[in-house]
């Protein structure tokens, strides 16, 4: 399964120096602080990071769904030819669901509890494609079959509270992909599901995206999920992208100390380690101008680098594809 042919040429989504802030009593907090990211057409990108790194805010920023008082304060989000940040709200609303869709962590929270699931899918066709009720319903049933809902003709008449969490997430996927968008953003889509159901839903996501040629931005904290699904991976820390690489390369030869630390900290079945490698400390308040990871970085100490705390390293190319933002990696 190679991904070199996908995502070639002009990227579908290009995020440049994105900055999203939230005002607080202690001053504005930059949840996303100069993020660069690209997704190619039909590609699966894993956006990985721990809580607070800004990955969910990034996803919301792309779709213009950041809750007030937070707002995007800088950068550009180029989707094809258009800069999404410069669009008037009406045009952005037209793009949502049609060309870029999103699914969230809690599937039942995203479904309308008083509407049958078939109707919620059919609604997309009725409103956006001006189809008649009957035809829209037929398409909805077909979509439910494609996402693996058993007996979809009768299943479509169910209400969200009558189906399980895994099924609800499948319905969400059906709704999101109904209009065959070019990009699907999935924010922790399987975190709330059991492991066995998670495997099913992830397989479904991959199959659907490949079939429809939809690019997928998979936002998650789970490196295992990323390893199984993604073509490329972007690792985020404290609002920045610190490393981007094709998935095999990232796991085999991680270059950023944070990525290395993350990979070393996961317990793997079959290994027999006494202690897990730790990353000391925790995410600190973003005050310094240099690399945000500097205070916790073992490499910095080992190589006695002083510039890490004062100068933010730029993104530079990695030897086997992708980019990395680290002084230590360059030396």
């Amino acid at each position: 399964m190679t991904c070199s042919t996908r995502g070639a040429a002009e990227p579908l989504l290009r995020i440049e120096a994105l900055r999203t802030e939230f005002p607080t009593n202690a001053g504005p907090v930059r949840a996303v602080d100069g993020l660069d990211l690209t997704i190619g057409s039909g590609e699966i990108l894993g956006l990985v990071g721990e809580s607070g790194c800004g990955k969910t805010v990034t996803a919301l920023s792309v779709l213009g769904l950041v809750d007030r008082p937070g707002r995007v304060t800088g950068g550009a989000i180029r989707f094809g030819e258009t800069d999404l940040l410069a669009l008037p709200p009406a045009r952005m609303a037209a793009i949502r669901g049609e060309r870029i869709a999103m699914i969230f962590q809690q599937p039942r929270g995203s479904l309308n509890p008083v509407m049958r699931i078939g109707s919620q899918i059919a609604e997309q066709f009725i409103r956006r494609r001006a189809l008649g009720r009957a035809e829209a319903w037929a398409r909805a049933v077909a979509l439910l079959r494609a996402v693996g809902i058993p007996a979809p003709e009768s299943g479509a008449r169910a209400y969200p509270h009558e189906i399980s969490g895994g099924q609800a997430q499948r319905v969400m996927i059906a709704i999101a992909l109904a209009l065959e968008p070019q990009l699907l953003i999935a924010d922790e889509p399987t975190t709330a599901l059991d492991v066995t159901v998670q495997a099913q839903v992830l397989a479904l996501l991959r199959e659907r995206c490949r079939t429809l040629g939809t690019a997928l931005m998979l936002v998650t904290h789970d490196l295992g999920v990323v390893a199984q699904l993604a073509d490329r991976v972007t690792v985020m820390y404290a609002g920045h992208a610190v490393e981007t690489a094709p998935v095999a390369s990232l796991f085999a030869r991680p270059m950023h100390p944070y990525t290395q630390g993350l990979l070393a900290a996961i317990p793997r079945p079959g290994e027999n380690r006494e202690r897990l490698a730790e990353i000391p400390g925790s995410v600190a308040l973003a005050t310094q101008t240099g690399c945000r990871f500097a205070a916790r970085c073992a490499e910095r100490t080992r190589l006695h680098l002083d510039r890490c705390e004062n100068e933010m390293p730029p993104l530079v190319p990695r030897p086997d594809g992708g980019m990395v933002r680290c002084w230590a990696a360059q030396s």
């Binding site: 721990e50 295992g224 993350l262 900290a265 317990p267 793997r268 897990l276």
Partner: protein, 322 residues
């Protein structure tokens, strides 16, 4: 690890009634824990694995007499836990403690963390009252926290730090048994590693016996000596760590393993994941409760529930097909 059995669970069941109607009559029963028997030896760490709704949390709580059992017995160091009168039960609580999953809910938001850790010392009268602040400070240091943080409130801490406070509170009375209920599931990976290492250090230093409950197989394998797999109220397989991971025999255990997203892109799963949906806990299938999702299901499975039988020394499986 010694041969002495510290905790003996026999045929333990904890059922809940789902009540409905004007008079709140029970309409169905959830058999959260349904005839579980386990032995935990002194000094060992037993891992308990299962997905949500399998009853592992209820089991952990019932063992500590925080939930009432419907049947069965739990013996701690030879003493039956459920027969104890309140004063004796209180005495027993010194020896059994619990670390909770959600560090945000496990601490009283209106108490400083120092006072939270002090509670077990006050309740059991450990040390003289004026010595207790120093004891709390020592406990803080033991879990890697600065004692000066004692006077802060829980909301001022991160998840990982709160979990350390919860652990400090749990070890305050120097318990013999520690039940860890998903202690790292709510934490980030990098913090998980810190807390898991801390738990391992404390286990060794305090010679703790641990029941480690989690849905995360990889974490359990890292922490436990023996592992039990639970499915909707019953133990379906139990074996020592290496045996379970090399040679799982129960179809559910195999399905669990097949479902974990393995963090290595070179080993991508190509075969389809296990089918079927988790059942409704109030209406489990007859006979073996896994049979409607099991690739090896036979007629026998619908008629009678397989007992936990010994397949090999240190390896018990509850399956007709094994």
């Amino acid at each position: 690890m010694t041969d002495e059995t510290l905790l003996e669970i026999d045929g333990l069941s904890a059922h809940y009634a789902i009540r409905s109607g004007v008079f709140a009559r029970p309409s169905a029963f959830v058999r959260a824990v349904d005839g579980v028997s386990l032995r935990i030896r002194r000094g060992e760490t037993l891992g308990l694995v299962g997905e949500s709704g399998c009853g592992k949390t209820t089991l952990g709580r019932t063992i500590l007499a925080l939930r009432p059992p419907t049947a069965g017995s739990v013996r701690f160091a030879g003493q039956s836990v459920f027969d104890l009168k309140p004063p004796a039960l209180k005495r027993l609580r010194r020896d059994m403690q619990i670390v909770f999953q959600d560090p945000y809910a496990a601490l009283d938001p209106r108490r400083t963390v120092g006072r939270a850790v002090r509670v077990p010392l006050d309740v059991h009268g450990i040390g003289r009252p004026k010595d207790r602040p120093a004891m709390v400070a020592a406990l803080f240091r033991e879990v890697g926290l600065e004692p000066t943080l004692m006077h802060r409130f829980p909301h001022e801490f991160s998840g990982g730090q709160r979990q350390r406070v919860v652990i400090a509170r749990a070890i305050a009375t120097r318990p013999k048994l520690l039940v860890c209920d998903e202690p790292v599931s709510a934490l980030d990976v990098s913090i998980q590693a810190q807390i898991l290492n801390l738990l391992k250090d404390l286990q060794a230093g305090l010679r703790l016996t641990t029941l480690f409950i989690s849905h995360n197989l990889a974490v359990v394998e890292h922490m436990a000596d023996r592992v039990a797999v639970m499915y909707y109220g019953r133990i379906v397989e139990i074996a020592d760590r290496t045996t379970l991971y090399r040679n799982p025999r129960h179809p559910y255990t195999r399905a669990l393993f097949a479902s974990i997203p393995f963090p290595d892109p070179r080993h991508r799963r190509t075969d389809p994941p296990p089918p079927g949906e988790p059942p409704d806990p109030a209406h489990l299938p007859s006979g073996c409760r896994f049979r409607n999702r099991c690739p090896l299901a036979m007629d026998r499975c619908a008629r009678k529930e397989p007992p936990l039988a010994s397949l090999a020394p240190n390896h018990d499986v509850a399956c007709w097909a094994a």
